[in-house]
């Protein structure tokens, strides 16, 4: 009933191909049940039909440079599923407004989940996602921590016709030039980091600075470097040099030594995860922060911060500026409810990665409840332009044009006197959403069709 004409190639539709596939496999394939459903019921992939449960797929890095984040994301996903199913104390379901979920699963179906390891590699992530879609029959999958991987999974989502809720991904490209109709991002992006950080940098470091960038060499690093460069150069700063470093380099000393003699007085680290921990630690060990250059104190800026990284970098993060999507110390009701139930479950506060993944899962489930169906085009329309509150960042808009959330951004500083081992980031400023909102046209890209 929904054969799409726009993707016809030589007069074949997906339905036709599925049938051809069945014919080819006939005799060889003991047709799995989802196959039957796909061919004859309302046509969308992994339609749960009359089943009593639906499956979500959580695809996170369990190994590699972003493994810490991945582990925390997985905890949050499990908690979200619990809350959606009406177990535990309900967390943000108590604070989210408007809310269509009733705490009995989604549309009366219990939520189950499968997990996978992306290994922070596009290949492995897509293989794992395909397993979830083709074998486990997930209705939605989610995950994050590397924008390259997120973008690869998002384009797979469009091909497969299964919605992908981005976890932690900060590249402008995710909802910019590589945006997809089947991909959604709650997390903020590099552009917003730049816009939020600019005024604070001007205030604390002045307008006459010389910046040196070290940048993780992939989509996220590139766009963050570009965004931060645009912001700082608008302030009047000069960019001395911008050096790309491989992801997961481990040892950054060969990149940091040249900074010492470059005449720069600010080092901007466009690194994340273990990379950021290593590069920052080494930069501090090399004595950069004790230096005086051009008559000014040498400064380090980490545009994208997270508490997990701060924990890894220890003492070295004190006084260093950056931005973050969310921090557990926020005092609004949504954040508090989430921190409380996460703390009860696992014994420590959640990271921003956990927060965004938790929120994304709830948002998807809620969109299904509002749409009254799991049929992806309807769910997508329910998410597009959705305005909500009580999820930790104040009033938030899921912009329809690029599937990007717009909400307040936090500018933070490494805490000089932490009161606990988790109290590592001090919120300097909550930058209102209006200040970081931009025109969706500036990054280009096409969302693509609703029906695939």
């Amino acid at each position: 009933m929904t054969t799409s004409d726009d993707r016809k190639t030589g007069g074949l539709t997906r339905r036709g191909v599925l049938k051809a596939g069945t014919a080819l496999g006939a005799g060889a394939v003991i047709t799995p049940s989802f196959f039957v459903r796909n061919a004859w019921a309302e046509e969308f992939r992994n339609n749960p039909g009359n089943a009593s449960s639906v499956k979500f797929g959580f695809n996170v890095p369990q190994t590699g440079a972003y493994a810490d984040e991945g582990a925390d994301e997985l905890r949050a996903y499990k908690l979200a599923v619990k809350h959606i199913n009406g177990e535990g104390d309900g967390g943000m379901l108590n604070t989210m407004k408007p809310l269509a979920l009733k705490g009995d699963g989604v549309l009366g179906k219990k939520v189950e989940y499968v997990t996978g390891d992306t290994q922070t590699k596009s290949d492995a992530a897509r293989a794992s996602a395909k397993r979830m879609i083709e074998k486990d029959g997930v209705i939605m999958y989610s995950g994050g921590s590397s924008s390259g991987v997120a973008i690869a999974q998002q384009s797979l989502a469009q091909e497969m016709g299964v919605i992908f809720m981005n976890g932690l991904t900060h590249s402008n490209d995710t909802t910019g030039k590589d945006k997809r109709r089947y991909g959604f991002r709650h997390f903020f992006n590099a552009y917003m980091s730049g816009a939020a950080l600019g005024p604070v940098l001007k205030e604390t470091m002045g307008t006459d600075r010389r910046a040196y960038h070290l940048t993780a060499d992939y989509t996220w690093g590139w766009t963050q470097e570009e965004s931060i460069k645009n912001t700082t150069e608008a302030l009047g700063w000069q960019t001395v040099n911008a050096v790309k470093t491989p992801l997961g380099a481990g040892d950054f000393s060969q990149y940091i030594t040249p900074v010492l003699n470059s005449g720069a007085d600010v080092l901007i680290l466009n690194h994340y995860g273990k990379d950021m921990i290593n590069s920052l630690t080494q930069a501090v060990q090399f004595g950069l922060r004790d230096k005086q250059v051009n008559g000014k104190d040498f400064q380090i800026v980490v545009p994208l911060y997270s508490r997990l990284m701060a924990q890894g970098a220890g003492e070295n993060i004190k006084g260093i500026y950056g931005t973050t999507n969310w921090n557990w110390s926020l005092s609004d009701a949504g954040s508090q409810a989430f921190v409380k139930s996460f703390g009860q479950e696992y014994g420590f506060p959640p990271s921003q990665a956990a927060h965004t993944c938790y929120v994304q899962t709830i948002l998807y489930a809620d969109a299904c409840a509002r749409a009254g169906t799991f049929y992806p085009p309807e769910v997508i329309m329910a998410l597009e332009g959705f305005e909500f509150d009580g999820m930790g960042n104040g009033k938030t808009l899921y912009r329809a044009e690029d599937h990007q959330c717009f909400k307040d951004v936090l500018v933070v500083r490494g805490n000089e006197n932490p009161s606990s081992q988790f109290d590592l980031l001090e919120v300097v400023q909550e930058v209102p959403a209006s200040q970081v909102t931009y025109d969706p046209g500036i990054f280009g890209g096409e969302l693509g069709p609703y029906k695939v």
Partner: protein
């Protein structure tokens, strides 16, 4: 086509063809019958067959074979981007480019043998990997990986088909190459690849390669120049890897540099040794085993485990989950390591040796035709 093959070889080929085509059915009991994993079985099977021609037959251990896989992928994706989404030109282009790349690397590396050869190939592969991340980013798109985009040229496609709203998908004259059609396309190529490998092994050229493995110095003393033979084997092997790489792009039009990493090169060595180096079927079995572990065991978590042991009492269930838990999910490579060690220690000839032993044991027990069993085992040894 079958001229010069023994009856056993013909049976082997026919049996293999049937098994390959029925793979979805065979993989069903172990929960591996979904298109993506089946495609991986076929593709990495091709990769391992090709590697086996070099390692199992010729005795050269290349530690950089993934480079050819990566080059094949990039070439195929560029064909999709530049010319057409039809898979035939992409596969041919991928195989040709990696063949040429193999000729270049082989020409240099084959001046040495043994460990020096291994290290040279490893170095070249690592160089390719790092180049793909640094200076070659305009071609490879670095860490993000080479992907299709809306504004690709696709010269031939634009002549015939209106540009759709979404990204086009790879196709074989209109048949989309995802899901089961994609698997059967890879499967047919796997069968062809297997047949070519069979013919090579049974040919005078294959005899020459085997002689190189046995004693290259003696070959040289008797007046043979072995290097052209070794180079040819290297190039063929590289082309197999290129075929596998381009098929990876066919089933999923995206190429990343991590395909060229040394771990990927090591993986194919593991596959071959696990299955049985030098045998015809072994490497394919090894490839299947490793891909199965990577895709299935990595997806197990404690919840799933306790579900599958739910027939046991709670206490036993918890204990079992506690014991098995660390070996699945993120620890799947730990389990693979243990299996690998066990096979290398107890079955030095790989899975194929295991099969031969079971076969022999079955024959002895059945008191059947011992001559046939002997023939089978001697054939196995010859492979």
């Amino acid at each position: 086509m079958f001229a010069g093959l023994t009856r056993n070889d013909k049976l082997l080929f026919i049996g293999f063809t049937i098994a390959a085509l029925a793979m979805p059915l065979l993989a069903w009991p172990v929960g591996a019958n979904y298109p993506d994993l089946l495609q991986k079985f076929a593709i990495y099977g091709i990769f391992a067959i090709g590697f086996n021609i070099l390692f199992g037959l010729t005795g050269y251990l290349s530690f950089g074979h993934a480079a050819f896989l990566g080059v094949g992928s990039y070439a195929a994706v560029w064909m999709f981007k530049g010319v057409t989404m039809n898979v035939i030109p992409a596969v041919i282009f991928g195989v040709m480019v990696s063949g040429m790349f193999a000729a270049l690397i082989g020409f240099i590396s084959l001046r040495r043998s043994g460990i020096y050869f291994s290290i040279l190939t490893l170095a070249f592969a690592q160089m390719s990997y790092n180049l793909a991340y640094s200076v070659l980013t305009p071609i490879t798109n670095g860490e993000t990986g080479l992907q299709l985009s809306q504004d690709d040229a696709r010269i031939i496609d634009r002549l015939f088909v209106e540009q759709g709203a979404g990204l086009p998908s790879t196709n074989l004259f209109g048949l989309e190459m995802s899901g089961y059609p994609g698997f059967y396309f890879c499967c047919v190529l796997l069968i062809i690849a297997f047949f070519i490998s069979l013919r090579i092994q049974r040919s005078p050229f294959g005899m020459m390669l085997r002689a190189i493995k046995t004693n290259q110095v003696r070959m040289n003393y008797t007046g043979f120049n072995t290097r052209p033979y070794a180079l040819t084997a290297f190039i063929i092997s590289g082309m197999y890897a290129g075929l596998a790489g381009s098929l990876l792009a066919v089933t999923d039009p995206l190429a990343g540099a991590e395909r060229m990493q040394w771990t990927a090169s090591g993986e194919v060595v593991l596959m071959t040794i696990l299955g049985g180096a030098g045998t015809l079927i072994g490497p394919i079995l090894g490839a299947g085993l490793i891909k199965y572990f990577e895709n299935i065991f990595s997806s197990y978590n404690d919840g799933l485990l306790s579900e599958s042991f739910s027939f046991l009492p709670d206490f036993l269930n918890d204990t079992l989950v506690f014991i098995i838990g660390p070996f699945v999910g993120e620890g799947w490579s730990l389990l693979l390591g243990i299996v690998f060690m066990a096979i290398v220690i107890f079955l030095p000839g790989g899975l194929m040796e295991g099969l031969t032993r079971i076969h022999g044991w079955y024959r002895r027990r059945g008191g059947g035709d011992t001559r046939a069993a002997d023939a089978a085992s001697s054939r196995q040894a010859a492979e």
